[in-house]
């Protein structure tokens, strides 16, 4: 009798705890559904061709988001182009040349901290370096560089992870043929890990295309059409930030539409990154 109550008690506790876990999961997923549903609900209404073809204008002037979209494209592309080679090389060093060196341990530690460092601090850093001193004023190039600083740790991390996954036998085969490390990396390791490396870059692009905080005090924003990298440049997240806080309903509508566009792009990027990994992160 005593045994059976003890057993029942344990069983009951088990059921209660596990039900709570299931409830937690449902609770966590509900937010994803609610946020996405709300975003589509509010954003789709404002989606029209003029959003993509008109420049930002005054309230009530049927403005669009053309210059912020172009600005975002320019700065995201440039940020990726600057950040990716540095990240790729650093990751290569950690996985290949400095595999057993103390420097690698330090770099890995610092890189992991940079990976989660507040992006607003990176914005301030670039402000001090490029806006207050280097270029001397707010500019598109400062925005691109601040995004590049965010790209680097993401790419470093995935590059190191992916290169260490390349089977040792491939390296041994390459060494047996007399290949130096550079040729092994270029012709064997990068090829075997190419899908994984592309994933890292895609994740980095996904990360920076929604970044707002660092752009506020580097690229600043621009209500006019400008592709000059030395001038302030508009970006989609920054326009959303400014428009959402405004009192005009058409600005708020544009902010929702812009938010929908960004979320769509970011989700597409992360989903395709995951699919590439699922198909073949590292060929073995």
């Amino acid at each position: 009798m005593a045994v059976s109550t003890l057993y029942k008690g344990r069983h009951r506790r088990n059921n209660v705890a596990l039900s709570l876990c299931i409830a937690a999961t449902v609770f966590g997923l509900i937010w994803l559904v609610i946020i996405l549903a709300e975003l589509v609900w509010k954003g789709v209404g404002g989606l029209s061709l003029s959003v993509f073809t008109h420049l930002t204008k005054g309230p009530g002037d049927n403005g669009g988001l053309l210059n912020p979209i172009v600005g975002s494209l320019i700065m995201t592309t440039l940020g990726t182009v600057i950040g990716t080679p540095i990240g790729l090389l650093a990751g290569t060093y950690m996985a290949e040349y400095g595999q057993f060196s103390k420097l690698t341990i330090v770099v890995r530690f610092i890189n992991d901290i940079l990976l989660s460092a507040p992006s607003i601090v990176i914005g301030l850093f670039i402000y001090v370096v490029l806006v207050a001193h280097g270029v001397g004023h707010y500019s598109g190039i400062a925005g691109a560089v601040s995004l590049a600083v965010i790209v680097i740790p993401v790419v470093v991390r995935t590059t190191e992870d992916m290169l260490t996954l390349v089977p040792v036998t491939l390296r041994e085969a390459a060494s047996a043929l007399g290949m130096p490390r550079s040729l092994y990396l270029w012709n064997v390791a990068y090829r075997a890990a190419s899908a994984g490396l592309v994933t890292g870059v895609l994740l980095a692009v996904a990360r920076i295309s929604g970044e707002t905080a660092p752009l506020l005090f580097t690229a600043l924003g621009n209500t006019l059409w400008s592709t000059d990298l030395l001038q302030p440049m508009a970006s989609l997240p920054q326009v959303i930030f400014n428009y959402a806080g405004s009192a005009y309903t058409d600005f708020q509508q544009l902010a929702w539409t812009g938010a929908l566009i960004i979320t769509f792009v970011v989700l597409m990027l992360s989903i395709s990154a995951r699919m590439i990994v699922a198909i073949g992160g590292v060929k073995k």
Binding site: L89, A90, T104, N111, I113, L183, A213, L216, F241
Partner: protein, 331 residues
């Protein structure tokens, strides 16, 4: 005959030439590649050094003017050019604590569900959904929180809290005042939603590092699933879980756009968590473009330095703990 000998001698010579040229080329590319990759790795270190040094340089005027009082004074008055960081520091810590109190149990619950209860075919879709939640840009959370979440809170949850918990002496002060909608509590709740995926995915990875043998031994002794989780999985992964939680905390402390929309941007410390407040990141994001005068800008950069210092400590501790778990798991 002689001709052939001469030819083959010339051929050997040419081959040797080729080979030494190829070797030189190999050496050159290898050295270049090694140096380039080494300098990129060193560059990552310099990046961190650069961030710290440039923030210190930028913050210098503010620290010279206010000294350590910058950290302890609540008054933030651009008109009088007097700046104290206490209110933003307080707001940053309180919103993050609220976020962690809510997100940690829920995140661990989801991780337990994913590793112990969930049928295998459902594991991947739910895992991916949680990770997508982590990928949504923070400005989306901000705009959603501002237009949708805050008004709902103002009409439902906050009046309820004021009428129930707010009436209890003592802790009632935490829930006093009118329902603003935006405020410290709302910012904390939004942060909780944002850090939930980080805590979930790290704890899931950490739980999966438990050797199956240990769990099987537990089940073999007749443990229930919950007993296996609390007596085997959690003790084994304790350091890793704490590391994951602190990683989430690091995110919460530095999160900017989501908080900026809903925290209320009021430079004061209120007893009530329903009242508007501000955080370090929200202050910088809101005021930087309008900051006139070197001291104002410098004070904002000083705020950034404080934020970086706090998050650096939290993240370093988190990484250290996760590294120790990896060593334990023999990775």
């Amino acid at each position: 005959m002689a001709e052939v000998a001469v030819n083959s001698a010339a051929g050997t010579y040419a081959r040797q030439q080729d080979r030494s040229r190829a070797l030189r080329w190999f050496n050159l590319t290898d050295t270049t590649f090694r140096l380039a990759s080494l300098s990129a790795a060193v560059f990552v270190l310099l990046l961190l050094g650069g961030i710290i040094i440039s923030l210190i340089i930028g913050a210098m005027p503010a620290f010279q003017k206010f000294g350590l009082n910058f950290l302890t004074v609540q008054r933030w008055d651009p008109n009088a050019d007097i700046y104290g960081a206490l209110a933003p520091i307080y707001g940053t810590i309180v919103t993050s604590v609220i976020a962690m109190v809510i997100a940690v149990p829920i995140g661990l619950g989801i991780a337990i569900f994913l590793t112990e209860i969930c049928p295998p075919w459902l594991r991947r879709p739910i895992g991916i959904a949680i990770e997508l939640l982590a990928g949504i840009p923070s400005i989306i959370y901000g705009i959603w929180g501002f237009f949708v979440f805050a008004p709902v809170l103002q009409q439902t949850v906050q009046p309820f809290l004021i009428n129930t918990l707010g009436q209890i002496p003592g802790i009632g002060n935490l829930f006093a005042g009118p329902p603003y909608g935006i405020g410290i509590l709302t910012a904390g709740l939004i942060l909780a939603i944002m850090v939930l995926p980080f805590i979930t995915s790290i704890s899931r990875d950490v739980f999966e590092s438990v050797p199956p043998v240990l769990k099987e031994a537990g089940y073999g002794l007749g443990c229930t699933t919950w007993e296996v989780v609390t007596k085997i999985v959690l003790p084994f992964t304790r350091i890793g879980v704490v590391g994951g939680v602190m990683l989430g905390l690091g995110r919460a402390l530095g999160e900017t756009m989501a908080v900026t929309f809903v925290v209320g941007n009021a430079h004061r410390i209120s007893a009530s968590i329903l009242a508007p407040g501000t955080t370090i990141s929200a202050t910088i994001a809101n005021e930087f473009q309008e900051a006139v005068g070197d001291l104002y800008t410098s004070s904002l950069i000083a705020l950034g330095l404080i934020l970086f210092f706090i998050t650096f400590l939290v993240l370093a501790a988190a990484r250290y703990m996760l590294m120790r778990l990896d060593q334990k798991a023999g990775k």
